[in-house]
C-alpha cells in the first residue's frame, strides 16, 4: 500500500470514528440517519482504498455492495415504511446527556484501540488502523444501542456495530469468502425492512416507536 493511500485511509478512519461518536449524541432521528449514511460511505471508501493497490476485487465488491445497500436501499426502506413524523422528532428521552455520552464513547474508542494492539502483537494486519477503529466503532455502536429507545436509532446502532465489524474485517480478512458481501447485500436490507415494519406497526397500534422502552413483559414477583 502506497504512503498516499495509507494516509488517505487514516483520514477516512478518523472520520469514521468521529461519525460513529456523533451518532450517539445526535438527538434528531433524521440526523442520526444522515450520520449513518456518512459512516457507510466511509466504510466503502476504506474498502476501495485498501482494494486499490494491490487490486483486491473482494474489497472493491464489498465497497460497491455497501454503497448500494447501506447508502441507498436501507435509508429508502426506512423512509418509505416509518412514518415521516418520526424522522423529524427529537428523541428527548435519551438516557445519558451529551458530555457523558462523548466521554463514554471516547473511553470505548481507547478500549477498542488497546484490544486491537493486543491482537496485532500476534499477527500482521493489512491496515492496523482499520482493526482498531473497527473494534472501536463496534463498541460505540453497542453504546448507541444501549442508550436509545426509539426503533430507528436502535436499528442504526446495530448497523453501526456491523459497519465497525466489517471495517475491522477488511483489514484482517480481505479475502474473506463471500460472507461480508452476502450479508450486506441480503441480510442487512432484510433487517432494515423488518425493523421498519415493526416500527410502523408499533406506531399504528401504540402511537409510539419507542419500542426499546416497553417493559410489560417483566417477570412479576409477588
Amino acid at each position: 500500500m502506497s504512503a498516499v493511500i495509507a494516509e488517505l485511509n487514516a483520514l477516512v478512519l478518523g472520520l469514521f470514528i468521529i461519525t460513529t461518536i456523533a451518532m450517539t449524541v445526535a438527538r434528531q432521528i433524521g440526523a442520526c440517519m444522515q450520520l449513518f449514511i456518512v459512516q457507510s460511505l466511509l466504510l466503502a471508501a476504506s474498502a476501495f482504498l485498501l482494494g486499490a493497490s494491490p487490486v483486491s476485487w473482494h474489497l472493491i465488491a464489498l465497497g460497491c455492495v455497501t454503497l448500494a445497500s447501506k447508502v441507498v436501499v436501507i435509508p429508502w426502506v426506512i423512509r418509505a415504511l416509518v412514518p415521516g413524523e418520526v424522522h423529524q422528532r427529537r428523541e428527548l428521552s435519551q438516557t445519558i446527556d451529551v458530555p457523558a455520552a462523548l466521554l463514554i464513547s471516547l473511553g470505548l474508542t481507547l478500549i477498542g484501540y488497546a484490544f486491537a494492539l493486543h491482537l496485532m502483537r500476534s499477527a500482521p494486519s493489512l491496515s492496523p488502523g482499520n482493526l482498531a477503529m473497527g473494534i472501536a466503532g463496534l463498541l460505540v455502536g453497542l453504546f448507541l444501542l444501549a442508550v436509545r429507545i426509539e426503533a430507528v436509532p436502535q436499528l442504526l446502532g446495530i448497523l453501526a456495530m456491523e459497519n465497525g465489524a466489517f471495517l475491522a474485517g477488511i483489514a484482517v480478512a480481505p479475502d474473506f469468502p463471500l460472507i461480508a458481501e452476502l450479508a450486506i447485500a441480503f441480510d442487512v436490507p432484510l433487517l432494515a425492512f423488518i425493523v421498519a415494519l415493526l416500527a410502523r406497526t408499533a406506531y399504528r397500534r401504540m402511537g409510539t416507536t419507542e419500542v426499546g422502552g416497553l417493559s410489560a413483559l417483566r417477570e412479576r414477583v409477588h
Partner: protein, 475 residues
Amino acid sequence: MILLIPLFPLAAALWCAVPRSNRAAPFVTFAASVVTLGLSLAALGAVRAVSEIVVVRNWIALDALAGLLLVLIALVYATAALFSWGYLSDEEHGRRVRLYHANFNLFAFSMLCIPLLSEIGLVWIFVELTTLLSVLLVSYALNAEALEAAWKYMVLTLLGATIAVLGILLLFWALHITGSTDFTWDGLRAAAPRMPYPLLGAAFALILVGYGAKVGFVPLHTWLPDAHSQAPSPVCAMLSGIETSAVLYVILRLRNVFASDAHLHVGTWFVTAGLVSVIVAALLILQTHDYKRLFAFSTVEHMGIMLTAAGFLTPIGDVAVLWQLVAHAVSKSFCFYAAGATLLATGTREIAGVRGLLGTSRVAAGAMLLGGLAIGGAPGFAAFLSELAIFKAGLLAHMYLAIGLLAIFIVVAFFGLLRHITHMVGGDPESRRRRLPAPCLWALGIGAIPVVLLGVWLPRGLGDTLLSAARVLGA
C-alpha cells in the same frame, strides 16, 4: 437429494405468498414438511453408510452430527406445521394466516440450511436469517406484548450475531496465518493447533457471547421467555424445541477448535456458563406466573445442562449431550403444543388463571402432564436417561461439584414444573369444556409418540447415529 431438502419449504413459502392460496396454505405447509422429513431421514440413512456426504467441497456437506440435527429440525417442522393448521384456523382466516405460513416455511428453510452448510461464514448468515425470518412470527398477535417480545428478540440476538461476526473474522484471520484456506469445521480443527493464542482467545470469547445470546445462556437470556411466550405456540415449538439447539450445534462444532489450546480453559468456561444458566433458570421456573414462560425457562435450563456436559470434553459426555438434544427437541416441542392446547381451551396464559384443566380439556391436561414429566426428566422418559448419562460422564471426568449442583437444580426445576402443572390440572374447572381442532389433536398424538417411546426404547439406528455424531464432535 440433499439439496432438495431445504427447497421444499422454500417452494411452500413461495406458494403461500401467492394471493388466492389462503385455504390451501396450511395443507401445502404440512405436505412440504412431511416430504422434508422423509428426505431428511433418507439423507441420515445414507450418511450412516458413508460417514460423510460432500455435495460441494468446502461449502455443503452432511455428516452424522449434521444429519441428526437435520432430522430433528424436520421432525419439529412437521409437527409444528400440523399444529399450526388447527391452531390458527380458529382465530381467523385469510391473508394473515397465509402470510404466517409463508413466513413459517421460510423460517424452517433457514434452519434446515444450518446443518447442511460446512462453510462457517455462510452458517453465520443463516443463523442471522433464522432471527430475521422469525421476528414477524413472534409479533403475529400484533399487540403491545407481542411487539415488545419481537423487538427484544431481534435486538438482542442480532447484537449477538454482530459480536459473533467479529469473532468469525478473527478466526478467519487466525486460519489465514496458518496458511490454510479451508474455512470449514474440519479445516479449522486441522489448523487450530497452529493458530496464535490471542486471536483464538478473542474469537472464542466473542463467539461464545455472540452465539450464546441466541441460545439463551444467562445473562443473555432475557429475550427468550418473552419471545417464546408471546409467539403462537407452534412457533414457540420451533423456537424453543429446535432453533436454540441449532445454534448450540454451531458452538459445539467450534468447541474443539478452541479446546486445541489448553490455555483457553474451554471446558471450564462451558461448565461455568452452563451451570449459571441451569441455576438461574431453575429459580425462575419456581416463581413464574405464565405457563409458556415456564417452558421457556425450562429451555434455558436444558441449554445450560447441554453446555455443562459439553464442557466435560469426553466422548461419553458428548453422547449424553446429543441424547439430551434429541430428548429436548421432541419433549419441548410437545410441551408447547400442550401449552397451545391449554391456551385454546382456557384463553389465558396465567398459571393462576387455569384451574381444573382436566375438566375443561382432558387432552390439554393429559398433554400438559406428559410434557411436564418428560421435559422435567421423570423416570421413564428420554430426558431422564440422557441426564443420567450426563451425571455418569461428569463422574468419570471427576467433575463432582458440577454434577452435584446440576443434580440439585435439575430436581428444583422438576418440582417447580410439576407444582405449576398440577395446580393447573387439578381443582374445579373454571371454564366450560372445549373441544380442540382436529389438526391440533393429531399433532399432539404424533408428537407424543417419540416422547413416550424414547424413554423406554432406543432404536438401534438412533443409538448408532448418536455414537457416530459424538465421534464427529471428537472430544
